[in-house]
Each structure stands twice: as structure tokens, then as C-alpha cells.
Amino acid sequence: MTVPATTQDSGYNFAYLDEQTKRMIRRAILKAVAIPGHQVPFGSREMPLPYGWGTGGIQVTASIIGLADVLKVIDQGADDTTNAVSIRRFFARTAGIATTEKTEDATVIQTRHRIPEMDLRDDQVIVYQVPIPEPLRWLEARETETRKMHGLADYGVMHVKLYEDIAKYGHIETSYDYPVLINGRYLMSPSPIPKFDNPKMHEMGALQLFGAGREKRIYAIPPYTRVESLDFEDHPFQVQTWGAVCAICGDGESFLDEVITDDTGGSMFVCSDTDHCGRRVAAGHKGPGGPEEGE
């Protein structure tokens, strides 16, 4: 469903932020694109939503969006969750731009915790909302030290975390926010996307921008850039599998959410990407369906 452009509410500057702030953020974005994976500080503003709800992503989107753009917002893959709906309405009101739920129609996609299943093109931009931009934070608490570690590409300690996983569980247990190395140089947090999505970041056509509002950092991956997930030679990087298919569209290759359907332990798996699922259903695919109702 695409909602055409309207006129913006009066009383707001285009896309809420003032022009000086947008320029400052664009400068940070340019620097971030020039140094793939490097965290660039920026002057994060108060936004009319709390930290942790996407203040970083929303500022990046506000700085790059124009009248001709079509915005899609997803939260955990879905277009119809609170966070996604309210951010989409925010930009429809403050910028008067067109919004959509269709991945192929969007020019700017703001996301929380997922990458759409469909391959993104090089005329699209994906904006990630990031809570903790520093991948080394849980291993090294000092910011002065983590900056030095990035400067010297001193990343051995990141493998300590993966080592711990294997020692404890027999395999790498980290399943989201799985650390990646950008263009062979900077270690980067991909934001809390599932590691299932990590391979999509590699050589992606779209420009990938990351905004962390509370931590005041912006970073980026330019189109067609090498993105490697860290691993061990004898424990290579692997994505999750479910051994199930989507109950609605029957897809066995997309990222599935388990939905509890009753209080006796019944559940079903459905695609996390609602647009992807809807497109497949429209094309005639059918899933096995959920547990029978009315039992």
C-alpha cells in the first residue's frame, strides 16, 4: 500500500529538523561514507520520541529525505507495528512525502532490527536504528580505549566473545548484532539485526546508513562494499535455520518468527518480513496454515 504525497503540516520545517542541523548530519554522513564502518560523532538532537525508539535513524532519514522520496519504515520486518506506523506518519505529516509498505517502491527504508528479504537496489538507501554503535563496548568499557583499538585495528579481543560462546555452547551462540568487518578494516556493529541478515549486507546495492541517537554516532557502508562476519576457521559463520516454513506463504527461506497461538503450547511460524509474505501470497503461494481454530 502506497500513500501518495500530501502537503506537510504548517509550523514545521521540512522533515522536522532545522536546515543547519540537517547540514551538520549530512556532513557526518559524508564522512561516514568516506570511511566505511567508522563511527562519526554528530550533534544528536532532541526528537519527539524517546531514545531507544529510533531517534538516530529518524534524524538520518530527516537529513537525506526529499520531496520526491518514498519512505518505507519497518520494525522487526513488519510495516504495521507501532514504531513503524508512527515514524511513517511522522514523516508524512512533517515532510508531506509519499510512504509505502512495498520494498520495491521505496527509495528510503528506515529499519529496526531487520533487512528486507528482497535484494535492495543501488537507487535505494537503508537507514538502520542503532542502540549501541560500539561493537567492543561489552569487552572494553573505556571509550578512549575503544577508539584507540579502532585506530590500530586491534580487534583480537572481539574473538574472545566468540571463543566464549563456543566454550559454553559448542557453537557461536551470538545470533543478533553479530560483529562484522567492513572492507577489511573497521569492526562494526550491524545494529541488532539477526545474523541471518548479515550476508545481505555484503556487496549490497543500496547505501547503508546507521544512526545512533543516544550515543550520537553515525556510520555507513557504501554500496557494493565487502562485509565479513567474524568467525573461526573450524567454526565458520552460519545463519539460523528453522526446519519449518511460513504458515501463511509457505516460504522456507525467509526469516521466520514463532507466534504463540494459544495457551496450550500451540504456535506457528510466519515470515518476519510482512511485505515479502504478502507479495508471495499475492503470487499464489500458500502455506500449511496455523493450528486449526475452534478445537
Binding site: 586491534d154 583480537g156 574472545v160 571463543y163 563456543i166 566454550a167 576457521e233 567454526h235
Partner: protein, 267 residues
């Protein structure tokens, strides 16, 4: 006849040369004009009372910080002499985690308390590029065995260990990369005497077997006598006496050394 070229035999100069090391904290003197040579395989003890500048000197020698004045030269494995203070930070960090080790008095300063003993020991290997879990694990197990740790506890957190065990993990963590030079700051401080004795035994065995050079700072003369070949006595930031350990302790020349030696409880 050909012999395997040994690291220590290939060059006949000292491993570490410090010249005129001076450092002060504002008006307070940390250490003043210390010059020393450390030879391959040699264990140098530094003794003195609290506040005599032992730890400051150790920090300068290990390049944990750069003193106000002085020069430090280290002979690399290639035989080339490197000016440690003039090195780039990346090269210095590399040196610190491959060729050098630093054993802190309090194991909490030298360990990551949030990750298991095994990960603590393996960190240095991963930091220099080891990316094979099985191989890392094998080396870690080997080293924890050599410091007489119970191997069933390899995946336990250091917080669940006693002080003596934490100290063993710290030692294994430093030795796993096969260093040539280890700095120790009161390695047995704060441990009870029986644990101290076992740890000293272990350290003496390791330095002998591996041909390690070491600088050991201690205020315990018994530790110095047991571990070090050569002894330096410090007072108010200056070296007042140095010589072979037995010689200094049995026949002290300087008044302060005499006081120090005579202050030890006689049993």
C-alpha cells in the same frame, strides 16, 4: 657442525637496555636516572620499601608509560635493537602482547573478569591472529596445565577462583604467547605463605625451563633471593646498590640495604 640458531645465543648484547630513566609526578620523584642492562635469561629483582619508585621504574621499563627522560632499547627476535619509546603505538602493543608479559600484583588488573579462564589465556593468541578454535583451545589447555590449574575449571570465570588461582591464570595468560621478557609487580603479594611458596616454585621452574628474562619488583627479600639472579635496591627513586643477589643480601654495602636486610624477621 651446525646447531639450531638459538634466540639467546645469536646475539651477545643485552636484551633490554635502559639509560638515564627519570620520571616524576609534579614535585614528587618517581625514579631518577636509572640505568640498567638486562641480559637474556637473566632475572633481575628490584627491592625497596613502599614508595621507593619500584613500580614507577617497572612501568617505565615495560613502556606502560613513557618517562620524562631516558631511553629504552630492546633487542628484537631479529637481533635488531629497537628504541621502544620511539616506536609507533601499534608496534609497541604488538611487542607487549607477543614478546613481553606483565604480571600485575592484583590479578584483577591483568585479567578480564567477565570472561572465562580459557578465554583470558587465549586472548593473546587471538590478538595476534589465531583463528582456529581447536588450536587455541589446545594451547590454552596446555598452559593451564603447566601452571597446575584444574583443567575441569577452564570455562569458569576468574571471579570464581581464589587469589592464588587467579594469579596462575594471569601467569598462563602472559606466557602463552612465548614471551622473552616478563615484568612482574609483586607477583606473590597478598597471598598466604603456602600458596606463595607453590607459586614461587612454579615461577622459578618456568623461568628456568623457558630461559625467560624477567624483571621482578618486590618488597619481600625472600622472594627476591629465591627468584632473582641480580638485585637492585631502590630508595627515594634512586638505585642505591646493585649486584648479584647473594652478594647484596649477604654482604650489604649501603646503609639502607643493611637496614633493609636487618629488618627481616629472623626465625
Amino acid at each position: 657442525m651446525t646447531t639450531m640458531p638459538s634466540v639467546d645465543a645469536r646475539d651477545d648484547g643485552p636484551l633490554l637496555t635502559a639509560t638515564g630513566i627519570s620520571h616524576s609526578y609534579g614535585d614528587r620523584i618517581g625514579c631518577r636516572d636509572v640505568t640498567l642492562d638486562l641480559w637474556p635469561g637473566e632475572v633481575l629483582g628490584v627491592v625497596g620499601e613502599s614508595g621507593s619508585g619500584k613500580t614507577t621504574l617497572l612501568n617505565c621499563l615495560s613502556a606502560r608509560f613513557i618517562p620524562a627522560a631516558g631511553a629504552l632499547t630492546y633487542r628484537l627476535r631479529t637481533g635488531e635493537a629497537a628504541d621502544v619509546y620511539a616506536m609507533g603505538e601499534a608496534a609497541r602493543r604488538m611487542l607487549m602482547r607477543t614478546d613481553w608479559g606483565f604480571v600485575h600484583q592484583n590479578p584483577r588488573d591483568g585479567l578480564r573478569m567477565g570472561v572465562s579462564a580459557g578465554a583470558n589465556v587465549g586472548e593473546r593468541l587471538m590478538a595476534v591472529g589465531a583463528r582456529h578454535y581447536g588450536a587455541i583451545r589446545e594451547q590454552v589447555t596446555d598452559w593451564l596445565g603447566r601452571v597446575e590449574m584444574d583443567l575441569g575449571r577452564i570455562d569458569d570465570l576468574p571471579t570464581q577462583f581464589s587469589g592464588g588461582m587467579q594469579q596462575r591464570v594471569q601467569i598462563a595468560r602472559n606466557l602463552v604467547s612465548g614471551p622473552r621478557l616478563v615484568f612482574m609487580d609483586e607477583p606473590t603479594g597478598g597471598l598466604d605463605v603456602s600458596v606463595q611458596a607453590r607459586l614461587l616454585d612454579l615461577l622459578r621452574g618456568l623461568t628456568n625451563d623457558l630461559g625467560l628474562s624477567a624483571v621482578i619488583v618486590t618488597h619481600d627479600l625472600a622472594v627476591a633471593r629465591l627468584l632473582s639472579h641480580r638485585l637492585m635496591v631502590m630508595r627515594r627513586g634512586e638505585v642505591v646498590e646493585q649486584g648479584l643477589t647473594g652478594q647484596v643480601l649477604d654482604d650489604p654495602q649501603h646503609a639502607y640495604t643493611q637496614l633493609l636486610v636487618s629488618s627481616v624477621l629472623q626465625t
